[in-house]
C-alpha cells in the first residue's frame, strides 16, 4: 500500500567546519581568560549570519571548543587553583553563551526582517469581485418578494394560476360575458380555435386566480396572486407581457373600508413613507361592484418620483367589492359572503419606487440595465430589515 508521506524536519548539517577552528590547547593556567573573553565576544559581535555564529559557538563551547578545553583541563590543576580558576572559566562560559544567544536572536530577527522586506507585494493589484456582488435579481423578482413580505404580514398567502387560461376563468366567471365591451378593451391574445370551437387565451389579468381560488378553497380567503399577464399591445408604454398582483379577500364581513385600509397599509409599507396621499375614485369594472380606482399623490423632482409629497396624481390600481355575479359563478351565496379584490401592476410599482423610466427595458435583458437596476441576492426584503433596497 502506498503510504502517505508524513514529512519531517530537515535537521541540517552539524558544524561542518568546526574542526578547522579548534585552537591547540595550552596549559589551562597559561590562558589569559580576559583576553579570551574579549576575543570571543568580539567574534560573536562580528558574526554576520547564523552560520558564522554557529562556527564561533562550536569553536568556543563545542565538544572540542576552547572553553570546553579549559573545562577539561581543570582536573589537572592543583585543588587550590582549581576552585577559583574553575569559577572563572564557568563565568566566562556563561557570558559567552549569553552573548551567543543574544547575537543569535538579533541575527534571526535581522534575517526575518530582510526576508519580509524582500516579500513586498504590489497590494494595489485588483482582485476579482465576489460573485455574489456581481449577480443580480431582476427588479420584478425583488418587488414580488417585497409584496409577499408586506402582504404576509397582513395575513395574505400567495396563490398562483396558469398563464394559458380558458374563456370561463379569464372572462365569463368574472362577469364579462362574450359580447361585453370590456373584452375589447382587454386586447386579448388568443390561441387557435379548438375542435369544440372554443379558444384559449393568455390571461389578460391575474383575476382568473381569484376564480380558481374561490372554486377550490372555502372562505375565509385572503390571497395575493402575483404573475405574468398578457395584452396584445406594444408601444412606448405598453409591453405585450407585464406583471400584476391580484388581491382577494372573501369572508362574511369584509367591506370597502377594509379594502381602503389594506391598500393604505400596503402603500405605506411598500413606498416606505409614513403617509401616502391616496385618492379613491369611483370607477367601473365588470367583476367588482362597487368599483374604485386609486391614485397616489407624488411630486416629481428631476428624474425622481417622490411618493407622499406634491400634488400630482398617478393611477396605480383598480379595486372593488367582488361582484355578486362573480360570487354566484363560483358557487358562493352573495347574501352570505362578501369581500374585495384589487389588481396592481407590479412593473408599474417597481418603476415608481426605483425610478426606471421605461417599461420596455424590463424585458430587453440589456446587461447594463440589469446591473444598474438589479438587486443583490443579499437584499432580501424582510419586515425587520426593511422591504426596500
Amino acid at each position: 500500500m502506498p503510504r502517505r508521506d508524513k514529512g519531517g524536519h530537515d535537521k541540517g548539517d552539524k558544524g561542518a567546519w568546526a574542526t578547522t577552528l579548534i585552537i591547540t590547547m595550552s596549559k589551562p593556567e597559561q590562558i589569559d581568560l580576559d583576553k579570551l573573553e574579549q576575543e570571543l565576544l568580539a567574534a560573536i559581535e562580528a558574526a554576520a549570519d547564523l552560520r558564522a555564529l554557529e562556527q564561533i559557538r562550536v569553536g568556543a563551547v563545542g565538544k572540542k571548543g576552547r572553553i570546553s578545553g579549559l573545562m577539561k583541563g581543570l582536573g589537572a590543576l592543583p585543588p587550590e587553583q582549581r576552585k577559583t580558576y574553575g569559577q572563572a572559566v564557568n563565568a566566562l562560559k556563561a557570558k559567552v553563551m549569553e552573548a551567543l544567544e543574544a547575537r543569535k536572536e538579533a541575527l534571526a530577527q535581522a534575517e526575518l526582517d530582510a526576508r519580509l522586506a524582500a516579500e513586498n507585494a504590489d497590494i494595489s493589484l485588483p482582485v476579482r469581485p465576489a460573485p455574489l456582488l456581481e449577480g443580480r435579481l431582476h427588479p420584478i423578482s425583488q418587488v414580488m418578494d417585497e409584496l409577499t413580505e408586506i402582504f404576509a404580514d397582513l395575513g395574505f398567502s400567495i396563490a398562483e394560476g396558469p398563464d394559458i387560461e380558458d374563456d370561463f376563468h379569464n372572462f365569463t366567471a368574472l362577469n364579462i360575458p362574450p359580447e361585453h365591451p370590456a373584452r375589447q378593451e382587454h386586447d386579448t391574445f388568443y390561441f387557435n380555435e379548438r375542435q369544440d370551437g372554443s379558444r384559449l387565451v393568455l390571461r389578460t389579468h391575474t383575476s382568473p386566480v381569484q376564480i380558481r381560488t374561490m372554486m377550490s378553497t372555502k372562505p375565509p380567503i385572503r390571497i395575493i396572486a402575483p404573475g405574468r399577464v398578457y395584452r396584445c399591445d406594444s408601444d412606448q408604454t405598453h409591453t405585450p407581457m407585464f406583471h400584476q398582483v391580484e388581491g382577494l379577500v372573501i369572508d362574511q364581513e369584509t367591506h370597502l373600508g377594509h379594502l381602503k385600509w389594506v391598500l393604505q397599509e400596503f402603500c405605506k409599507a411598500f413606498f416606505e413613507v409614513d403617509s401616502v396621499k391616496m385618492r379613491f375614485r369611483a370607477s367601473h369594472f365588470p367583476f367588482t361592484e362597487p368599483s374604485l380606482e386609486v391614485d397616489i399623490g407624488y411630486a416629481k423632482q428631476g428624474n425622481e418620483i417622490r411618493i407622499g409629497e406634491g400634488d400630482q396624481w398617478l393611477e396605480i390600481l383598480g379595486c372593488g367589492m367582488v361582484h355578486p355575479n362573480v360570487l354566484k359563478n363560483v358557487g358562493l351565496d352573495p347574501a352570505q359572503y362578501q369581500g374585495f379584490a384589487f389588481g396592481v401592476g407590479i412593473d408599474r410599482l417597481a418603476m415608481l419606487k426605483y425610478g426606471m423610466p421605461d417599461l420596455r427595458a424590463f424585458f430587453a435583458a440589456d446587461l447594463r440595465w440589469l446591473k444598474h437596476y438589479g438587486f443583490s441576492m443579499l437584499d432580501v426584503p424582510t419586515l425587520s430589515g426593511g422591504v426596500g433596497a
Binding site: R4, R128, I158, G161, F191, L256, R279, P290, Q338, M377
Partner: protein, 809 residues
C-alpha cells in the same frame, strides 16, 4: 367625451367653480382626462382691423396690410387671398407663439418689406384644418379685444373618460344629472316638449326581422319635415361642435351631432327625396354593400342590422349612414330617424367592419330606449327653428322596449358592503336625484325599498349597483379606512414549498454571479421547435410578431437571444439566468417552472474576461453542472445520490452534457455545453455552458412535526486518510468508481474525494488514472493497521469488480 363648461351649465344650475366641477366629476367616476382653456393659448391674440391692404411691391401673391389692434397700427405682410381692406381678423403680435405652426413670431423682412406680426388662419390657431385664408371675424367684433372671446373660444373644454357602464353620461345632460345628484347644483327642467306635427308621414317604416331576432331593432320612429332650407348652422352651434373637436357640416347634420352629444341620443337624417319606397330595418344579406358617409364601401352580413329601402342597403344601423341618401345643402325634405338598436349586435358589427363613430359608441353601451320620441322632438324643434319647414306626424314601427325594472333594496346593504354609516335620507336622496323611484315596502319599511330604475341606466341590475351609486355620490372619501383583524393564531409561512424554491433558486444563482433576466413567454416558432416545442396548440392566433408567436418550451432561447444582443453591444462574456414558466401544453398542469441559465465565454463565478492572475479559462460543462448542483443542493437535494445520465436534449453538445436524475424517470436538471450547431444557427461564437433545472420535479420535502434536530454525534477518534490510484478503461465514468468506493464500507467511509484524473503518459492507449482520497471515521475505537488494511482491500476489490480498475503500483 368632451363638452364645454357653458354647455354643461345649460343643464346644470350651479355656482360651483370649474375646479370643483372637475374634482367632483373625477370623484364620482367620470374621470376628467383633460381640461383645456383655449383662451389661455390665445392670450395676446387680438381682434384687428385691416385699414389698408395692397399688393406687395416685390411679390405677386403677397399683400402688405396696415393692421390696427385698436392702439397701434402694424405693417404686416400677408399671403392670404382673402386679406383685404376693411376686414376684421385675428392679429398675432411679434413674440406670440403660434400653436398651429409651432413657432414664435418675430419681426422680419419679407421680400424687402418689414412685417411685424401676422393675421392668422384657423389652422394656425389650431381651431380647424382650414388654411385657405385668414380668419374673418364678424363686423361687430370689437377691435383690440381678446380674439379668443370673439372666436367663441373662451369656454373651457372638459374631457372625461366614460366607463362602459355609463351610456347616460355620453350626453351632457346625463353628466349634469350626476353632478346634481352629487350635490353640485340642480338639474334644470327639460325644455323639450312633444311636437305633434301635421299630416301623416309620407315615408313609411318597416321592421323586418325573423321572429327570434326582433330585439335587433325593437322600435324605429321617424318623421319628415318638408320645405327645409339647409345651409351652414348658426355660430353658436358651430362653436359648440368645434369646441369638442367636431367639424360643422351643415345645419341638418350638425343638429343630429349636437343632440347626440347633448342627450346621448344618436339620430340620422336622410334626404327624403333620395329614398325609394319603404324604409326598412332588417338584417343584412351576404353580398350586400353600401357606400358609407366616410366615403368607403362596406360589405354587410346576416348578423348586422342595416337600414334599407327598395334600392338596397342605405346604412349600417346605429353605426354609420349612407353617402347616397345623406342630406346636402340642396335637401328640401328631410327624414329623421330615431330608433333603438341592440347594443351587442351594434358592437359586433362595428368591430367586424372596424368603424368607430359617435353613434356606435353610444348604441353599443345601450342608449335610453325611451329617448326615441325625445330625440325626434328635439331634432324637430332645432330643424324648424334653424332650417324652417313643416313637420309631419311621427311614423313609428315596433314598440319601445320595456325598461321598467324594480330592485328590492335594503339600505343596510350600503353599510354591509362599504362600511359607510349613513342615515336613510343620505341613501335615498342621491338615488332620487339620479331618477330612481323608491317605494317603501309597507308602512314601517325598515329601510327596505322597491327601487325602480330609470330607463337611461341599463347598468343597474342589483342592490350592489345601488350601493355603488350611493357610495360614489356620497363620496368615496367618506368610506372609513377600517383595520382588518389578523387571523388568529401563530403566523404561519404563507409561501408553499414550491414558492420558496423559486425564490431560493433566484438568490442562489444571483449569488453565483449570474444576472437575472425576465424574457418573453413567447418566442418564434422556429426557435420553439428547435427547443422541443412549437406545437400547433401553443401558437398564438394573433401574435404581436412572428418573433413572439409560440409559447416557449424552454427558457434557454430567450436567454440566448438576450446574451447575443448583449454580445453584439460589445458587452463581453456574461452569465444570465431566468426563473420562470415554460409550457409543454395548454392545460394548467402543462405549465412548469424552470430555473435556467447560460454562461458565455469566460463568464465563470471567478469573473469573466482577462485578468492579471491568469484565471480566464472558458466555461465548460462542469461550470453548468456546478450551477445546477448548487441550486439543487440549496433546495435540499443530496446531489451525491443523483444519477448522472447522458440524456440531455438535442440543443446540448451530445458528448459534453448530461442529466441529473432522481430515479429513472425524474429529470431534475440538464447541464452541459450547448451544441455548436445551435450556436452557429443563432450566431453566437461560443462556447456557452447552460443548465435547465425543473423546479416542479423536485420532491416536496416532508414537513417534520418539530424543529428539533437529531442529536449531534461526534467522535473524538481521529479520522484516517488513505490515497488510492486506479488505472482503468478511459470510457468508464468516474462516477461508477466513486460509487463503488463509497459503497465499500458504509459504516467507516465518511468521504471519498476524486483528486486526480490523468490520461496519457505511460498509461497506454484508452486508459486513465483516477486518484481518490478516502476518509475513514472510526466510531468506537482507534482502527488498527490490520483493520485499515482490511477496509482498503475491500474498497479495492469493490472498485475492481465495478469498473475493472487496477490499483496502480
Amino acid at each position: 367625451m368632451k363638452f364645454t363648461l357653458s354647455w354643461l351649465k345649460e343643464h346644470l344650475e350651479t355656482d360651483a367653480s370649474l375646479s370643483e366641477i372637475v374634482d367632483t366629476l373625477t370623484q364620482i367616476g367620470l374621470e376628467v382626462e383633460a381640461v383645456t382653456d383655449p383662451a389661455a393659448v390665445l392670450k395676446g391674440f387680438k381682434v384687428a382691423f385691416v385699414e389698408r391692404a395692397e399688393k406687395h411691391p416685390n411679390a405677386d401673391k403677397l399683400k402688405v396690410a396696415l393692421v390696427s389692434d385698436g392702439q397701434t397700427t402694424h405693417q404686416v405682410v400677408c399671403g392670404a387671398p382673402n386679406c383685404r381692406t376693411g376686414m376684421k381678423g385675428v392679429f398675432a403680435p411679434p413674440g406670440a407663439y403660434i400653436p398651429g405652426s409651432d413657432f414664435t413670431l418675430k419681426k422680419a423682412k419679407i421680400r424687402g418689406v418689414e412685417s411685424s406680426g401676422m393675421l392668422c388662419s384657423e389652422r394656425e390657431l389650431e381651431i380647424s384644418d382650414e388654411h385657405t385664408g385668414i380668419i374673418e371675424l364678424p363686423d361687430d367684433a370689437e377691435v383690440g379685444s381678446e380674439a379668443a372671446k370673439a372666436l367663441g373660444l373662451d369656454d373651457p373644454v372638459i374631457e372625461i373618460a366614460i366607463t362602459p357602464n355609463r351610456p347616460d353620461c355620453t350626453g351632457v345632460r346625463g353628466i349634469a344629472r350626476d353632478l346634481a345628484a352629487a350635490g353640485l347644483g340642480r338639474l334644470k327642467p327639460d325644455p323639450i316638449k312633444p311636437i305633434e306635427g301635421e299630416g301623416a308621414c309620407p315615408q313609411k317604416i318597416a321592421l323586418e326581422f325573423p321572429e327570434n331576432k326582433q330585439d335587433a331593432c325593437p322600435v324605429f320612429a321617424g318623421r319628415i319635415i318638408e320645405g327645409v332650407k339647409n345651409g351652414p348652422s348658426p355660430a353658436w352651434l358651430q362653436q359648440r361642435l368645434k369646441a369638442i373637436g367636431l367639424r360643422p357640416i351643415n345645419a341638418l347634420a350638425d343638429i343630429t351631432n349636437y343632440i347626440c352629444f347633448d342627450r346621448a341620443r344618436p339620430l340620422h337624417v336622410y334626404d327624403a327625396d333620395k329614398l325609394n319606397g319603404v324604409i326598412r330595418a332588417r338584417l343584412g344579406k351576404a353580398g350586400e354593400t353600401f357606400l358609407a358617409l366616410d366615403g368607403k364601401r362596406y360589405e354587410v352580413d346576416g348578423e348586422m342590422t342595416v337600414i334599407a329601402d327598395d334600392s338596397g342597403v342605405l346604412g349600417l344601423a346605429g353605426i354609420i349612414g349612407g353617402e347616397e341618401t345623406g342630406v346636402t345643402e340642396q335637401t328640401r325634405r328631410v327624414f329623421i330617424e330615431s330608433a333603438y338598436f341592440d347594443p351587442i349586435r351594434t358592437a359586433m358589427a362595428g368591430r367586424k367592419l372596424q368603424i368607430t363613430s359617435d353613434a356606435r359608441f353610444r348604441f353599443e353601451r345601450g342608449i335610453d330606449p325611451q329617448s326615441v320620441n325625445l330625440g325626434l322632438d328635439y331634432a324637430t324643434k332645432l330643424i324648424t327653428e334653424i332650417c324652417g319647414g313643416k313637420p309631419s306626424l311621427v311614423e313609428i314601427a315596433g314598440q319601445v322596449p320595456k325598461t321598467d325594472r324594480t330592485i328590492r333594496f335594503k339600505t343596510a346593504e350600503v353599510g354591509r358592503l362599504t362600511g359607510l354609516s349613513l342615515q336613510p335620507d343620505d341613501i335615498t336622496a342621491p338615488l332620487k336625484k339620479l331618477g330612481f323611484k323608491l317605494k317603501g315596502r309597507g308602512k314601517d319599511d325598515g329601510g327596505e325599498f322597491d327601487v325602480s330604475v330609470p330607463s337611461w341606466r341599463p347598468d343597474i341590475s342589483g342592490p350592489a349597483d345601488l350601493v355603488e351609486e350611493v357610495m360614489r355620490l356620497v363620496g368615496v372619501d367618506k368610506v372609513p379606512a377600517t383595520p382588518m383583524t389578523r387571523p388568529s393564531g401563530v403566523a404561519r409561512p404563507v409561501l408553499t414549498e414550491a414558492q420558496k424554491r423559486v425564490r431560493r433558486a433566484r438568490r442562489i444563482l444571483a449569488g453565483r454571479g449570474l444576472i437575472e433576466a425576465v424574457t418573453w413567454s413567447f418566442i418564434s416558432r422556429s426557435q420553439a421547435k428547435r427547443f422541443g416545442g412549437g406545437a400547433e396548440a401553443l401558437e398564438l392566433a394573433n401574435p404581436i410578431s412572428s418573433e413572439m408567436s409560440s409559447m416557449r418550451p424552454s427558457l434557454l432561447p430567450g436567454l440566448l437571444a438576450a446574451v447575443q444582443r448583449n454580445f453584439d453591444r460589445g458587452l463581453g462574456d456574461h452569465a444570465l439566468f431566468e426563473v420562470g414558466q415554460a409550457y409543454r401544453g395548454t392545460k394548467p398542469g402543462d405549465q412548469f417552472v424552470a430555473a435556467s441559465g447560460v454562461r458565455l465565454g469566460t463568464a465563470r463565478p471567478e469573473g469573466a474576461g482577462r485578468f492579471w492572475s491568469g484565471d480566464n479559462r472558458v466555461v465548460n460543462l462542469f461550470d453548468a453542472k456546478t450551477d445546477a448542483e448548487a441550486v439543487l443542493m440549496g433546495l435540499g437535494i443530496k446531489t451525491g445520490t443523483l444519477q448522472v445520465a447522458r440524456e440531455a436534449p438535442g440543443w446540448f453538445h451530445p458528448g459534453r452534457s448530461g442529466a441529473l436524475k432522481l430515479g429513472p424517470k425524474n429529470v431534475l436538471a440538464y447541464f452541459g455545453e450547448l451544441h455548436p450547431g445551435l450556436l452557429a444557427e443563432i450566431g453566437l461564437s461560443g462556447p456557452v455552458a447552460a443548465f435547465e433545472i425543473f423546479l416542479d420535479n423536485l420532491p416536496v420535502p416532508r414537513r417534520k412535526a418539530g424543529r428539533t434536530r437529531p442529536a449531534l454525534q461526534i467522535s473524538d477518534l481521529q479520522p484516517v486518510r488513505r490515497d488510492f490510484a486506479f488505472v482503468l478503461d478511459a470510457a468508464v465514468p468516474a462516477g461508477e468508481l466513486l460509487r463503488a468506493a463509497w459503497g465499500a464500507d458504509k459504516k467507516l467511509i465518511e468521504q471519498v474525494t476524486l483528486f486526480d484524473v490523468f490520461e496519457g503518459g505511460n498509461l497506454g492507449e484508452g486508459q486513465k488514472s483516477l486518484a481518490i482520497e478516502v476518509t475513514l471515521q472510526p466510531r468506537e475505537k482507534t482502527l488498527t493497521d490490520e483493520e485499515i488494511d482490511a477496509v482498503a482491500a475491500k474498497l479495492v476489490a469493490a472498485v475492481e469488480k465495478a469498473t475493472g480498475a487496477q490499483l496502480r503500483g
